[in-house]
């Protein structure tokens, strides 16, 4: 469904992505793992249309989307939940979610998704009129995911959703990823928590300083000696 071919990203003199290629098939969970600074966020940001300084092909359902704006990308059915949650602290939970649905105009469908999201995250429902900034870290992460879901995406890109969360909450995040995948949404997951990500992923890629060095099914990478050595603590 999403195909990336020979994607390059430059920041000034830094060559952050050196021609990566990857595929995200419909209905799958694909994960991109790698150390800090490997280029994971840059990959997602390039897909989301945030980067101007990129080269290569990004094809979505057969059409090239590499020149599109972030708004077009969201309308095309791809949403990105950025690293560090980036919820709007001064807006209420409800407003954060409405913002997620900004690109849509069908009010009835939005209301239906809002109900669904509140069902999925009952804690957000209780706090719907609270400012986003008053939520706990875990709740903020739920809000960031819920907000992304409000765009009714076909592909959800999550950038390190488990970052900085207590172990129990990390588990919850991964069970939510499974849940949204069960709902038929395709997931492209970026993680430093390699083990959990590989467990949930159908397909996985390892990124090292801008180059994809390994790929395979999640299970095969968990079994791979090089991955165990570098990312799973031996």
């Amino acid at each position: 469904m999403l195909e990336i071919r020979d994607l390059h990203v430059h920041y000034g003199g830094i060559h952050a992505l050196k021609g990566i290629s990857l595929d995200v098939p419909k209905g799958s969970v694909v994960t991109l793992i790698g150390a800090n600074g490997a280029g994971k966020s840059s990959t997602l940001r390039a897909i989301a249309g945030l980067l101007k300084n990129k080269r290569g092909h990004i094809s979505w359902k057969g059409t090239d989307i590499s020149g599109k704006t972030p708004v077009d990308i969201v309308k095309a059915g791809i949403v990105m939940s950025p690293e560090g949650r980036r919820i709007f602290a001064h807006l209420t939970v409800l407003e954060n979610l409405q913002l997620g649905a900004y690109s849509r105009s069908d009010k009835a469908a939005i209301a239906k998704d809002m109900d669904w999201v509140f069902e999925l995250f009952p804690r957000l429902s209780e706090r719907r009129n609270q400012k986003g900034g008053t939520l706990s870290g875990g709740e903020q992460q739920m809000l960031a995911v819920a907000r992304a879901l409000m765009s009714a995406p076909e592909l959800v890109m999550l950038d390190e959703p488990s970052l900085g969360l207590a172990p129990l909450l990390v588990k919850e995040v991964f069970s939510i990823i499974r849940m949204i995948n069960d709902r038929g949404m395709t997931v492209l997951l970026v993680e430093q928590n390699a083990y959990a990500a590989l467990k949930v992923a159908h397909q996985a890629y390892v990124l090292e300083t801008g180059t994809i060095t390994l790929s395979g099914t999640g299970e095969s990478l968990i079994a791979d000696a090089r991955v165990r050595e570098a990312y799973l603590g031996g």
Binding site: F88, L91, E95
Partner: protein, 297 residues
């Protein structure tokens, strides 16, 4: 001072204060979203007033029509200025857009001198704004009721847009985090254009009403009120719309009341605002309603 005079001073304060507030809102909205102090804003104030003058003299339009039209034309011009002079600099260091706005400000002033000529012009005032109402010994100029009333109306519309509409939600989101707003599908450039349009419309409205209050037009007429409105925005806490309103009203009040109670100081009335600015920057740089500034400036 008797109470009749006090009421008159209060109404004058309210009139002047709401004129400052309308201009301050434009400064604060643009700053809130782009962290840009738009120096060309005070020229929009001037242009709005001149466009009404044109509408009435050249276009033979009735005054309310000329006012509505002038606001619309000035607002479009505000959007155009952003597109031409600031938008190409979005990714440049912030100082670039600031300098560009100073350039636009001088440019518009000079264009105004060429087109409108530097001689001050008399402004047409509808008679019903001038015939004083006298009740209980209080002499009230309808203008001092009309200006605050119309300003309040404009502000309510503004608050409705910002807090009750989808575009307003987009504005509030952009003002905190443009990139994430983009990711959520907010058409950032369109919302910025809308912000310039609204802010400029309010400045034009203020300039038009200013010309009724101090019935003279000249190409530099925006400079001092513009500076004061900017100070009002800083005083209220730049970036905050309620802050701009409170700051504007407070400045109008301070100016009128100081002159009323200390007539000897009347010659310094333009200096009060700057003293206030210095005090705010020294003692409460974030202003009355302002937030932390570290991530803004």
């Amino acid at each position: 001072m008797n109470s009749a005079m006090f009421i008159q001073h209060m109404l004058n304060s309210l009139t002047l204060g709401s004129l400052y507030a309308l201009v301050a809102i434009g400064y604060t909205m643009v700053y809130g979203i782009l962290r840009l102090i738009n120096f060309a804003h005070s020229e929009m104030f001037m242009l709005g007033a001149y466009f009404v003058f044109w509408g009435i003299t050249l276009g033979q339009l009735p005054w309310p029509v000329a006012m509505a039209l002038a606001i619309a034309v000035t607002a479009s011009l505000g959007v155009l200025v952003d597109q031409v002079a600031y938008r190409p600099l979005r990714d440049a260091p912030r100082i670039s857009a600031l300098i560009s706005s100073i350039g636009v400000s001088f440019f518009l002033q000079n264009v105004a001198i060429v087109f409108f000529q530097a001689i001050p012009r008399e402004v047409y005032r509808p008679q019903w704004l001038e015939d004083p109402i006298i009740t209980h010994g209080v002499r009230i100029l309808p203008l001092t009721l009309f200006v605050p009333f119309l300003s309040l109306l404009f502000m309510l519309v503004l608050l409705w847009i910002v807090y009750r509409t989808k575009a307003g939600l987009g504005m509030r989101a952009i003002s905190k985090d443009i990139e994430t707003s983009y990711l959520m599908g907010v058409p950032v450039n369109r919302i910025i254009a809308l912000t310039f349009g609204i802010g400029t419309a309010l400045a034009a409205a203020s300039g038009i009403m200013w010309a009724l209050r101090y019935p003279q037009l000249q190409p530099m007429m925006g400079t001092i009120p513009g500076f004061k409105a900017f100070i009002a925005a800083v005083f209220g806490g730049i970036g905050s719309i309620p802050g701009a309103v409170i700051g504007g009203l407070a400045l109008g009040f301070i100016e009128i009341m100081t002159v009323a109670f200390f007539p000897d100081l009347a010659g310094y009335r333009d200096a009060f605002a700057f003293v206030l600015l210095i005090m705010v920057l020294m003692f409460k740089p974030t202003g009355l309603m302002g937030e932390r500034l570290e991530d803004k400036v």
